[in-house]
Subunit: 305 residues, 2 copies
């Protein structure tokens, strides 16, 4: 899977993914109005608005990017109706040839992680029939429960050629509260990084492993160290743009081969039309604003590579 | 919410919850056969089998217990169809007056945790209308991202009188890999415990806080220390029974008032009919086997209180 992602990154010359995290207040009024008109101010109405919003952004950006990263929480908050649109979005992106990284941050004890892995990346057996649930290509995973909570995801990566990104150092302001704590002089995130390397070592797919890491753009000094600790681990890098990370901050996330990282932007792309730099497009043309934001982000990151 | 849970625990004299974690191989053949006959060997068929299985167990145990803990992964693995049954199970248990603890172990950056909190415990606004998604009463939460990843759940607990249980020390074999690591001489789980106390301090509901902790039954020495560190924090205790925790191991999870902990059993209750001790019931009467297992578990724990 990571080889497929790298091929797509080379093809598009864009080491970026679009975070499909549709908050209702990002969606232009003409879209919500139409959806609520049809389905009422209901969970279904919200789901329809999200779907129309996503579809337009995908249609306007898919040829420029290798991957998307839908944040499942933004769908899950609308219950079943929201999750139906999550699935519809995954399907639609895959039809367009995009790699879909489900941002679910799942992780539990072994048997439970196995169920998450089956539902999001693998298959389940019903009687003698093999079925599949959400079938994303890659998934983010939380490491707090240790090896037996992560291993079932790694096993599915091996069996089905899928990929995961394990949280190592997250982009949020209080990520250091536990992640930066020193253990025998070494921060916890480095310990997690060492485990990620171990978990990924027999899951190689070319020069990189199908077991990747989430490393926030907002802590550039740490990403420099992590890059060295994990030379064959792909980084999924959140925090660029709206969360404060700049292209300069990203430099250390990449290896000398220009590979090793895929940078996510959510708000900065999908709500670009609300940004002063793109307001000339207007809410009616929000998809075109997103397309321009993708072009600009790719150029911005290209500068430091 | 925690006061409501305590009232129910006193009323039933049972500090236990039934883990509704229906693996397909726990479900008796006559149930799966009927469901697959109706819906085929499909995700729908699996969902129907789970629903019929859950319903029977709830019908046979609801009057003996204060709460249930459905593990959402076991539903999520069957995609949308599975999650519909999760919701149906939540609804049905709440109609029976049970408190529902959604075992979802969610946790993310602030804005994303806010979406999870809204979807599982709170409400979402669609236009001017307030809607709700999964509306469980309590939820398990992962602390790896620190305060700003947990705070949105605490805020919903305050606003809507709901509860959470934050992972402190989990029951699985490799939980110590990160959680036991010493930081200035103190294991990480104690640091997390201190934060849980802090997060819960302005969220009191009687003698206990609506912000609880997950503390595994499988590490009794640690639960003894944690009990002292967190006198006003309710513990959700997994690991009893099938995972190896005994009633003796649970003693330290309780305070001297006989309160302070609710012990979960999943397999030991819902698949009781497969256990030699209950095989006289036979698969046809799996619900009766579960009822007897609840009675026995309550007595077993009662011995050490």
């Amino acid at each position: 899977m990571i080889r497929r992602l790298i091929d797509k990154i080379r093809e598009t010359k864009a080491p970026i993914c679009v975070g499909l995290d549709p908050m209702l207040n990002y969606i232009p009024e003409h879209v919500t109005k139409k959806a609520f008109g049809e389905f009422g101010e209901t969970l279904e109405g919200a789901a329809e608005a999200i779907w129309q919003f996503n579809k337009e952004i995908i249609d306007k950006t898919w040829d420029l990017i290798p991957a998307v990263k839908p944040q499942i929480a933004m769908y899950e908050q609308f219950g079943i109706e929201g999750l139906k649109v999550y699935q519809k979005t995954v399907d639609y992106c895959q039809e367009k040839g995009l790699i879909v990284i489900g941002d679910a941050k799942r992780g539990d004890i072994g048997s439970t992680s196995a169920a998450y892995a089956a539902g999001h990346l693998g298959t389940v057996k019903v009687g003698n029939t093999v079925c599949s649930g959400f079938h994303t290509d890659m998934l983010t995973v939380n490491p707090y429960l240790g090896t037996d909570g992560v291993k079932p995801f790694v096993d599915v990566c091996k069996a089905e050629d899928k990929g995961i990104f394990v949280l190592v150092k997250t982009s949020n302001p209080s990520s250091g509260e536990f992640q930066d704590k020193l253990i025998d002089g070494k921060p916890l995130y480095e310990l997690v990084a060492e485990k990620v390397v171990e978990w990924g070592s027999d899951c190689m797919d070319g020069d990189y492993s199908n077991v990747g890491a989430v490393v926030g753009a907002t802590y550039p000094e740490m990403s420099r160290i992590l890059r060295k600790l994990m030379p064959h681990t792909y980084f999924l890098v959140p925090g660029y743009g709206a969360q404060g990370g700049t292209a300069e901050d990203l430099r250390h996330c990449f290896n000398e081969d220009g590979l090793g990282a895929i940078v996510n932007s959510s708000r900065g792309i999908i709500a670009a039309y609300k940004n002063a730099a793109y307001e000339k497009f207007g809410p009616e043309n929000f998809g075109d604003a997103s397309r321009q934001a993708v072009i600009d982000m790719t150029a911005d990151i290209g500068r430091v590579l």
